[in-house]
Amino acid sequence: MTKKPTIAIYSLTCCDGCEFAILDIPEKLLELLKHAEIKRWRLLDEKCPPPDETYDICFVEGSAITKENLELLKNLRERSKFLCVLGNCAEFGGIHRIKNWHDKEQLCKYVYKYAETIENPKIQNIEEMVKFDFVIPACPVSGEEFYRIVNEMLAGKKPKIELRPICYECQTRGYECILQKGQICLGPLTIGGCSAVCLGSKMPCWSCRGPLPEVKLRPDAYKNLMKFLSERHSKDEIDKAMEVFGMKDEYLKLSQQ
């Protein structure tokens, strides 16, 4: 019998929501266990792994806020054949990145009396910290998408996310376009694959899955959307929407192209 591939799920600082999105489809989790061994997942396992334990596929969610977080991330890269980034906090820094747009020392003083004793680094994109092999995007990740991608990996296929905008999924489902109705929606720029879950609940898309590669290459779509939005909203309103999922830096780059 060949040995089952080994999987680990780790988290840095975050809400653990991506892990719950995985846990919330128990039948798929049990099916996955037939094909792979989950060697380490602290949510469900007491054992403390040896520091040199290696994995075939390692998933990491959360932002590197403490030094310990960053060391663990780099260390997991060393110990994993395939490092898969899980969710917006890991990929772009998530809501934690909002603080980059404030005086972060001031923010820390607002919360803590002894702010000078608190680790408060600038929040970075994953590519500024480690090399990785794949990203499952979003806040939180979709459990369905997670299992589809893991199963593709286990079958030896190269996992793939269709690169088409959220608008495609929103319109084919017949949802009302809330961008046209005057809300700040970044759907036209954003990688789909989430079934436009937010739009189905009339929540605008704030790009938690990140910008489409073609938008990054040819920023016309971005510039057109900004022109449309700025007729209706202040720069501050548009900026604040982009800050929630760490997108402001991404889109700033495009405006400079």
Partner: protein, 418 residues
């Protein structure tokens, strides 16, 4: 003698315990959060009021519903916004469903392994196949409701200030109602597992704080009541609560009138026992625990009883919603300057959000006090009382006993380190 439990597993977020004894005397008993400082209160400053529920939901992946609802209620209090009876019903359904799936997970997959000496929750499924299926079934009832009413399980989308963005599809509510009877049976199966467990003997007097109201086993509204007889408004509670920050710590512990106190299922059960459903009362009697009890490991028993009560309440509200014609999804309101507090029962205790906003709806000040930040002092005092007794045991057994006590509180380090 030093006792360290580093990076505890099977908790929400990452935390550790450090204890020291010198000649039988406790010199240290400390819970430490291993999460990074997230500064959520700081990042909300200057933002639009409507961002508060969206961003604070991300404090916690297991209880985002309660952050959404508490932020929403605090904003409504700040702007004096009234919501419809339909909105209140749907919010209560969301919160009770959140309690069902959170308790289901914590009871069976996070706490039970300690009692039956299994270190991996997935192995637990093999050893207790029927009971595990029952726990999964109960959780699914909860998650299906949150999805139907909130639009998504983790970080729900539809609840907002003034009401809901979108109303649930009635046929979906009907489909969930079809599994109600089997869910209640499954909840009873889960509870039976816990009624047979031997809980550690332990007692240390404290005070229990929770929401309380006249009509119900309160979860989304009411005053703050304590077992010692205090009854105050949430805003008054906040006015008297102290948040203490120590150097190098990312959680601010709290005291009320200079004392540690307990929140969570056991606190709610003490303050609101008479409001439990007959089936839930029967389940509590099955544990044979007399009130008051100062054994905080019974928080697990209280969660088990709440599981039954919450499933029943979800069923009642679902039936009401299915029968009633839906009115408008939300009430219109005017943005105005103000200050407001929201208090809602999270699975692990009362959550408070406070906001001050200006006349354009921008957030000027904000404070969030989570259940774990509230009970951490109480847990440490319990650990101090418990350590001398546990210290004499063989290491593995001692650590297991300590973990039972810590996990019984159902701590959420993600919430505590917001």
């Amino acid at each position: 003698m030093k006792i360290e439990l580093n990076h505890l597993s099977k908790t929400e977020g990452r935390g550790s315990f450090k204890g020291s004894l010198l000649e039988g005397q406790i010199t240290e008993a400390k819970m430490i959060s291993n999460e990074g400082a997230r500064l959520v209160e700081g990042m909300l400053l200057g933002r639009n009021f409507a961002d508060a529920p969206v961003i604070t939901a991300r404090i916690c992946g297991i209880c985002p519903v309660v952050h959404v609802l508490t932020a929403t209620k605090a904003m409504e209090a700040a702007m004096d916004i009234k919501v419809s009876a339909q909105t209140i019903k749907m919010r209560e359904l969301l919160e009770r469903a959140q309690i069902v799936h959170s308790h289901g997970l914590h009871l069976f997959f996070l706490s039970l392994p300690d009692f039956v000496n299994i270190d991996n929750s997935l192995r637990l499924i093999k050893q207790f196949p029927c009971e595990a299926q029952a726990a999964i079934k109960v959780r699914e009832f909860g998650t299906k409701i949150v999805k139907a009413v909130g639009g998504r399980i983790v970080h729900p989308l539809r609840a907002e200030i003034g009401g809901f963005k979108v109303l649930p599809d009635k046929s979906e509510l009907e489909r969930i109602m079809e599994i109600y009877d089997e869910t209640l049976k499954a909840a009873q199966t889960v509870v039976k597992v816990f009624q047979k467990l031997k809980f550690p003997e332990f007692s240390r007097k404290t005070d229990y704080f929770s929401l309380q109201n006249k009509k119900d086993y309160a979860v989304i509204d009411g005053d703050i009541a304590s077992w010692s007889g205090k009854k105050i408004k949430p805003a008054e509670f906040l006015a008297h609560v102290e948040e203490l920050h120590e150097m190098n710590e990312v959680v601010k512990r709290t005291r009320w009138n200079k004392k540690a106190f307990m929140v969570g299922a056991l606190a709610r059960l003490h303050n609101n026992y008479v409001k439990l459903s007959p089936e839930a009362k029967k389940a509590w009697k099955g544990f044979g625990i007399k009130l008051p009890t100062w054994n905080t490991t019974y928080n697990i028993a209280a969660q088990a009883v709440e599981l039954i009560h919450s499933v029943e309440k979800c069923g009642e509200i679902l039936e009401e919603l299915i029968k009633m014609p839906f009115g408008p999804a939300k009430n219109h309101y005017h943005i105005r300057a103000g200050k407001g507090v929201g208090a809602v029962e999270a699975p692990r205790g009362t959550l408070y959000h406070y906001y001050e906003i200006d006349d354009r709806g921008r957030i000027l000040n904000c404070n969030i006090i989570t259940p774990t930040a509230q009970f951490l002092n109480n847990l440490e005092e319990d650990l101090r009382a418990y350590l001398p007794e546990a210290a004499g045991l063989p290491d593995a057994e001692r650590d297991c006993r300590l973990k039972i006590l810590i996990r019984a509180y159902d701590p959420c380090f993600s919430c505590a380190t917001h």
